[in-house]
Amino acid sequence: MTQREHFDAIVVGAGPAGNSAALVMARGGLNVLQIERGEYPGAKNVQGAILYADAIERLIPDFRDSAPLERHVIEQRMWMLDDEAFVGTSYRSDRFNEQRPNRYTIIRAQFDKWFSSKVKEAGALVVCETTVTGLLKDKRGRVIGVSTDRDQGEVTADVVVLADGVNALIGSRAGLRKELTPNDVALGVKETIFMPREVIDARFNLKGNEGVVIEAAGSITAGMAGTAFLYTNGDSVSIGIGCLISDFKTSGVRPYYLLEKFKQHPSIAPLIEGGEVKEYAAHMLPEGGYNAIPQLYGDGWVVAGDAAQMLNAVHREGSNLAMTSGRLAAETIVAAKAKGKAMTASTLKAYKRALDDSFVIKDLKKYRRLPNVLHNNKHFFTDYPRLLTNAAETMLRVDGVSKKEKEKSVMGSFRAERGLRGLAIDILKMNRAWR
């Protein structure tokens, strides 16, 4: 009979959360096995994305020297779109051309692969193309390892770090948490559109490795709660749109249709004209926020990243929360191991305390009401964009009508659509949600 191998720790998943956890534990001298179902780390994470320097810098201070970074972001545009037009704000500054830029665009497939190479260098054993199918438990219900979809596929460990992403199937299957509801997850669809570097530079007014991010909301989501985005990579742009699964279900709108509509919008189409679609991907995002965070630890296990609903939908921050939670989980485990403590729930509780003290939980708490507000007030995505663009058009058109009359007609249109009470309530709701 073949012996089951035993490790100090098993990490499920090689996304930002899993990689951070595996890296820290391997550096801490633990014998770590990391299991990823993709062909290589990042294979399943084809999207381009924004990387926030801070979280990765804490793990790999000199990441800028070797990580595959596309462009650093010097300009952020926020657009409110209706069907034909948009109003927007933007911030662009040369100060973002700093020595150690704060935000980058990346292609996840390449970034995750690079991150994984650092994990291997630190001494973790990384096995890909292997799916974890369940958790092994002892008679008392403590987690003691995992089973996989391969022959002789069981391995044991003192502790299992669940970093398997938004679906968090392993945790649900093992009864460690309740199943996700459609209200807690958004579906994002995304394309990478290939264009020569020079074309991107010209269209977005960029030079060197400068990059632009456009965040957009409005009628493009066909009345559903959601947002769209466009990021510039080296020689491609990432473009995508996402809405809550529950909204897709009720509206019957197909995600891909939304993306096509967004791409054809008069403000977006010229930016991507002539580009060749290289990749299409659909991926879920945990957008339930603070209230959806599950139990984070137990006997022999912890959960981090998207699997723990650690995503800040408002600021589209996810990978940094994933890295931070992965790191904190690992630091907890390394410390416990150093003290020779068993990996029990009471030992691993320190992970939750560390998270509570970090920006991760603080930020999620701040926005805890937002998912509900947006979900139940769809006019934020329908009426307001139209009212705003109409207002802008009315004010900007010079046609002999006095400004005072124009203001009146704009206010009138807002009142007619939402009513005075409605307007006041909207403002109040948004304020509370944002507080």
């Binding site: 096995v127 193309e129 292997t130 996989t148 391969r150």
Partner: protein, 286 residues
């Protein structure tokens, strides 16, 4: 008691050609970020070798010539169940055509055979980047192995007698060939499905040290026969196919029926014989 078969499988790491782009401005190849894969045809060779190992025992050594990153391909093969991986890597090997490739691989296979003679060398039918189907025959010639190309099945093998029969795809049919070991087999696609390794296989593969041989370690006798130097063919240019000068003439019409009629007129105008050619076609339906 025999120790089973000593088999070598040649595999090549190739760019996933589906993902290669040509820069529209500079017309150069954009390989950045293009993932590499094991040449798909070679996977059939690997499985065929492991299937023989299941039958008669023995060892399967995977061999590749390529840059250091080709070690990934070997590790993958180990994860599928191969026993040993050897990477042939040296700057002298760069720029090799099929003649030079088969020379270098032959040296390495002979080296592998020093401890125990090699019974069968496997290669894929062809690569998807070079696409020549010539490296296998090249190795067979150089080593004096009996050459069996486009093999779809290996019905019998008798190690005592040193005999093997194979099915070989030929034009219009299948040849049943019998020959003696040692031999070289190039495996046809769609003949088998590569097995998934067990978890212990995967762990072993990740931990394994891939043996890297330079020209000297591989026992290469004449460096001049390797790499670009040893390649009689030279690539003189690489280019994207030029667009045809004229684009298609678009058929106008308000309805599908109108378009169809106009299209037939246009075809008949360019090729006045066309309709009578069609009328003469054998399989005419009512």
């Amino acid at each position: 008691m025999s120790q089973g078969l000593n088999m070598v499988v040649c595999i090549k790491q190739v760019p996933d050609s589906a993902q290669i782009r040509v820069h529209p401005v500079t017309n150069t190849i954009m390989r950045q970020g293009v993932p590499t894969i094991i040449n798909p045809y070679d996977l059939h060779a690997l499985e065929a070798a492991m299937a023989l190992r299941d039958r008669l025992g023995g060892t399967v050594t995977v061999l590749t010539m390529g840059p250091p990153m080709a070690a990934t391909a070997l590790r993958k093969a180990l994860g599928h169940g191969a026993d040993r991986g050897i990477l042939l890597s040296d700057r002298f090997f760069a720029g090799a055509d099929t003649l030079a490739t088969s020379y270098a691989l032959t040296s390495a296979i002979q080296k592998i055979g020093e401890s125990r003679p090699v019974d069968i060398v496997f290669t894929g039918k062809q690569t998807i980047d070079g696409d020549t189907a010539q490296v296998g025959p090249g190795i067979a010639r150089r080593m004096g192995l009996n050459q069996l190309t486009y093999v779809s099945a290996i019905p019998t093998i008798d190690q005592e007698a040193g005999e093997i029969t194979v099915h070989r795809r030929a034009e219009g049919g299948v040849q049943v060939l019998k020959t003696k070991l040692p031999c070289l087999i190039t495996m046809l696609e769609a003949t088998n499905v590569l097995r998934r390794g067990s978890l212990p296989d995967m762990l072993r593969a990740e931990r394994a040290e891939v043996e890297t041989w330079n020209a000297e370690a591989a026992g290469v006798e004449d460096i001049g026969k390797c790499g670009m130097k040893g390649s009689p063919t030279k690539v003189s240019k690489v280019f994207a196919p030029s667009p045809r000068a004229e684009k298609a003439k678009m058929v106008e019409g308000d309805t599908a029926e109108a378009k169809a009629r106009v299209a037939i007129d246009a075809l008949a105008e360019t090729d006045p014989q066309l309709l009578s050619v069609i009328a003469r076609q054998p399989a005419l339906a009512s």
